[in-house]
């Protein structure tokens, strides 16, 4: 569930304590609400190789995990940036614009083309989410990119998706708790540390969040880093666009009931 923003009207009324007439307060409220609606849609660059789970990530963050079927091509932006841009309706009614960009590592020539696209797009988006697959260890092209073009990416977040597939493998994911198996959890942490270290090698200081869009695992943590990557005055627009898929829905109901009982018995 997303947060409720404070009501501007309440703020005005508390400020004036009766000094401001109701009509003026309502006029201010209406005008602020109009400007809230007119705030431009959030623009996200989504970067990643085919199969890393870009669509499932968008669905998990903005549509409670359900598939978003009605997208619209943003022809004007696509032409302006020579990129694939789509408008997604979100569960909250605020649309978002997603720049779908290929990841690096498909070949030298292809990477050159992609980096040119990044140079056009990244300075103009609210944030960029670079999605890596937790089971693909190749990040050298990404290190080169950050060394040469790190200045383009102050608003970049790295997400490591598909942690449910990390060794020993998908069968070790605990489906009852909707958590990684114990050995898998250690391996996920190791993988996350490894990526962080390799990004540090190229002096990149941003965050890496491990998550699973499919298992709805650590999506709030991913959203948090995305919020911090956006500019201060645009964060509320991003948060108001999201409808994050509920992790708890995938936990076995009997286990949740047992936990509730245990909490009551212990008295917490």
């Amino acid at each position: 569930m997303a947060s409720r923003l404070p009501s501007p009207l309440k703020a005005f009324q508390s400020a004036f304590g009766g000094e401001l007439d109701q009509r003026t307060a309502q006029d201010i409220q209406a005008e602020v609400e109009r400007r809230m609606r007119d705030e431009p849609p959030i623009r996200i660059a989504l970067i990643g190789l085919t199969g890393v789970g870009k669509s499932s990530t968008i669905n998990a963050l903005f549509h409670s995990g359900a598939s978003i079927s009605h997208t619209r091509a943003c022809t004007q932006e696509a032409e302006e940036y020579d990129a694939d841009v789509k408008e997604y309706p979100t569960a909250k009614g605020r649309n978002i614009h997603v720049f779908d960009m290929p990841g690096l590592g498909e070949g030298i020539e292809a990477d050159k083309v992609h980096i040119k696209t990044y140079s056009r797009v990244l300075p103009d988006v609210d944030l960029a989410l670079w999605i890596l697959s937790a089971i693909n260890r190749a990040i050298t092209p990404l290190q080169y990119f950050l060394m040469d073009h790190g200045h383009l990416t102050p608003n970049l977040v790295f997400g490591m998706n598909k942690v449910d597939l990390v060794q020993p493998g998908p069968e070790s994911w605990n489906k009852v708790l909707n958590l990684p198996g114990l050995e898998q959890e250690q391996n996920i942490k190791g993988r996350e540390d490894d990526i962080r270290d390799r990004l540090k090698e190229v002096r990149w200081k941003g965050e890496v969040v491990s998550y699973s869009a499919e298992k709805r695992y650590q999506l709030q943590e991913l959203l948090h880093q995305m919020l911090l990557a956006a500019s201060e005055k645009r964060r509320w627009v991003l948060e108001q666009s999201t409808e994050v898929a509920d992790f708890e829905e995938l936990v076995d109901k009997t286990k949740l009931q047992k936990l509730q009982k245990a909490r009551a018995l212990v008295g917490v």
Binding site: I28, V32, Q220, K233, R235, V244, L265
Partner: protein
């Protein structure tokens, strides 16, 4: 609220069950905290945005500058209350 395996064993759970529930409880707590934090980040951001927008709203509606200043002070108080 965090739970410990010892607490759960004392109320009759097996060590395995206790370990499971401790892990699940910790993850749920972490999830609620992250959700609350995200809401706080959004509210603070909204306050900043509102502080920027209000003077323009005041001018557009022809509201006296001293009235707009009062609204702005109220918004500042609102943001402080969130910090």
């Amino acid at each position: 609220m965090s739970l410990t395996p010892e607490q759960l064993r004392e109320v009759g759970l097996t060590p395995e069950e206790a370990q499971d529930l401790v892990r699940l409880n910790a993850k749920l707590e972490q999830n609620y905290k992250a959700q609350a934090l995200n809401g706080e980040v959004a509210r603070r951001s909204f306050g900043e945005w509102l502080s920027d927008v209000l003077p323009a709203v005041g001018r557009a509606l022809g509201i006296a500058a001293n009235v707009v200043s009062k609204v702005l002070r109220s918004v500042a108080a609102l943001i402080n209350a969130l910090n």
